[in-house]
Amino acid sequence: MFAVLILPSFRLSAALRWRAELWDAPVALVEKAGAKDIVVACTPAASAAGVRSGQPTPQALARCAELLILPPTPAQERALDAALLEVAFSFSPEVEQTAPGICTVDLRRAGIRDYDAWAKTAADRAHQCAKNVQLGVAENPDLAFLAARNARQILVVKSARDFLTSLAVQELDPPPQLLGILHDWGIHTLGQLTALPRGELADRLGPDSARLWERAAGRTERLLRLSRVPETFAESAEFEYEVESTEPLLFLLRRFLDSLTARLAGLHRVTERMTLELALEGSQRYERDFQVPSPTADPSVLFRILETHLETLRLEQHPVGLRLVLASALPSHDQFQLFENTLRDPNRFGETLARISALVGGGSVGVPVLEDTHRPDRWRLAEPRFHESTKTTAPALPMDGIPLRRFRPGFSANVQIVDHVPAFIVSEKALGAVIKAGGPFRLDGGWWDARDTWTTEEWDVELADGSLWRISRTDTAWQLEGSYDESALPAAKSNIVPFRAV
């Protein structure tokens, strides 16, 4: 058995996808044809007022003064087509994208016993994609197509002969000349056509009539041109006006995510990455990738990530279009070590990091990673991957002494040298006689690159007040690099909070 999903008025459905309330209003989709604007599709309300496909726009407006004219939305058409394909893939891996808004599914290896029950479930799933999807089930692809086209919502063809007998010949879209001849003969239904002997019909009217007869008898067989499962899932919308606040964007993003995650769930997949694209005024674009820390199909989690970002986003131009692309993956199942701690809610953690990054700047949050150099204070911040099973592989190197507190930038200092050893320091932070000094620790590098050659001489010093500092000299300039231990500062009484131990 085969199933066909059809989205009638596909282009209009795409244009009204996120504006379902307009289905009850007189709306026409208008496309430029040469010098004229022609109506290509319209809502039932517009049809009732006399608007028809092929009419020039002025004529349509003359028939219906309240007619709302919409332009085609190619991006939304592509998104809707992809959505329909994804729904089809949730039924079977063997799917053909027959035409825009039409998918054919091979169900022969799906192991379905009750096609009526299956069709109801399948239709419910398809309606998450678009409310007006029609589903037809029959023994071959062409018959299933006819069933879908003539279904109110669902039509399961159990007897091809009974179904086809009363259908008009026009349903098979015969060549106009052939249709004229058949009508002249008084042949109007497929039942009347198949009552004629096939061979004699072909002798008189040619091979087209033989193919028409086969289709009318429901006997055609063809191979499906199979499509591949999409790796990305996208939704998009084009605005008729410039969006000036985040509310409309958030409203649409929530609906996008509800739709996309439902499609993902149908394929048992989760989202591992999102891409938000904003089309801005003046052909500018804004694009941002979001890595989902713990891949999920939960729309609320994904929405929070986008909402957090949009809250802090500042653009010079207003958005005129929106596109959201989800990259899917199979759910991962990590086996953690017995005593390994990972994050309870990695997505919430990711959201918190995004908020902190927005507060202190993106380059100020992360996991410090030392660079492979002896040059002081060389490190970079890596993105935290705490949610992954991370058995530490770095060797547990023993460290010495008190960790340095490094001043960024360092304080300039005047250092008096006696017998090649620092004897007195004057700087903004440290002042006093050096009672003990360790050094010099001479470091240099980059000698192979004239632009990046560096050399420095470091000293650890202890001052008379007990404080410990690191100072350094480059060429002739001294600098206070940091402190190991500054003497406890004199108590400022107003700042001390009384604390009673009980």
Binding site: I356, R405, K436, G482, R500
Partner: protein
């Protein structure tokens, strides 16, 4: 004593993994890896604000101790560094891998970042290092900020430690005072040796915490 410490560690791990489990009993704490301190106090109390005050060296060494223990116990910690003075070069790479470092330039940013991490509740240990800020800036932090932190911390299983040069955290349920003296020779000692002699004195506030620490 070693067995007690292991059981406390196991409890802490189970609480981390199964947050929906029955509420913790008093005495639940995050071990610090500082033998004396853990023996006396069981570790850092979860769900309360703890203040460690002392010289800057104490704060840096305490941070190093927490990082060492996090690597050992395989948990993560966050350091909200208000003065951007943390030096990655002073720490072993395997301890850095478990640290989330948040660099802030103002007290307001540091407080807000710590608040976000505390509310997030994913990391078992959050250190808010204010030791590098001038006292004038610390004095401008409203007292109710710390009460708010205490209120938020009570809803989590995080250990939240504020490192300050002087006692300023009015709402701190536990206050740790450090009075070690070091000299230039200390800089050549193995850090393990330094931590072995790292003396911390904790005092608790309120009946509930008195029980916990006892």
């Amino acid at each position: 004593m070693q067995a007690n410490s292991a059981i406390a560690g196991l409890r802490a791990l189970l609480a981390e993994k199964f947050p929906a489990a029955p509420p913790r009993k008093s005495g639940d704490a995050l071990p610090t890896g500082l033998a004396d301190f853990d023996e006396k106090h069981g570790g850092l109390q979860r769900g309360v604000v703890t203040e460690l005050h002392g010289s800057t060296g104490h704060g840096a060494l305490f941070t190093a101790a927490m990082m060492e223990h996090a690597a050992l116990a395989q948990h993560y910690l966050a350091l909200v560094d208000a003065g951007r003075t943390f030096d990655p070069g002073s720490h072993a790479p395997h301890t850095l891998a478990r640290l989330l470092w948040v660099q802030c330039t103002t007290a307001a940013h540091a407080l807000k970042s710590a608040d976000l991490l505390l509310r997030d509740g994913n990391l078992p240990l959050i250190l808010l290092d204010l030791q590098s800020l001038p006292l004038r800036a610390l004095g401008r932090i409203p007292a109710n900020t710390w009460h708010r932190f205490q209120h938020v911390a009570a809803e989590t299983t995080c250990a939240f430690v504020v490192l300050t040069p002087q006692p300023i955290v009015e709402a701190a349920r536990t206050r740790i005072h450090a009075e070690n003296r070091w000299n230039l020779g200390s800089l050549t000692l193995r850090r393990k040796e330094l931590l072995g002699g790292f003396a911390l004195q904790a005092s608790a506030r309120g009946a509930l915490n008195e029980q916990r620490i006892a």
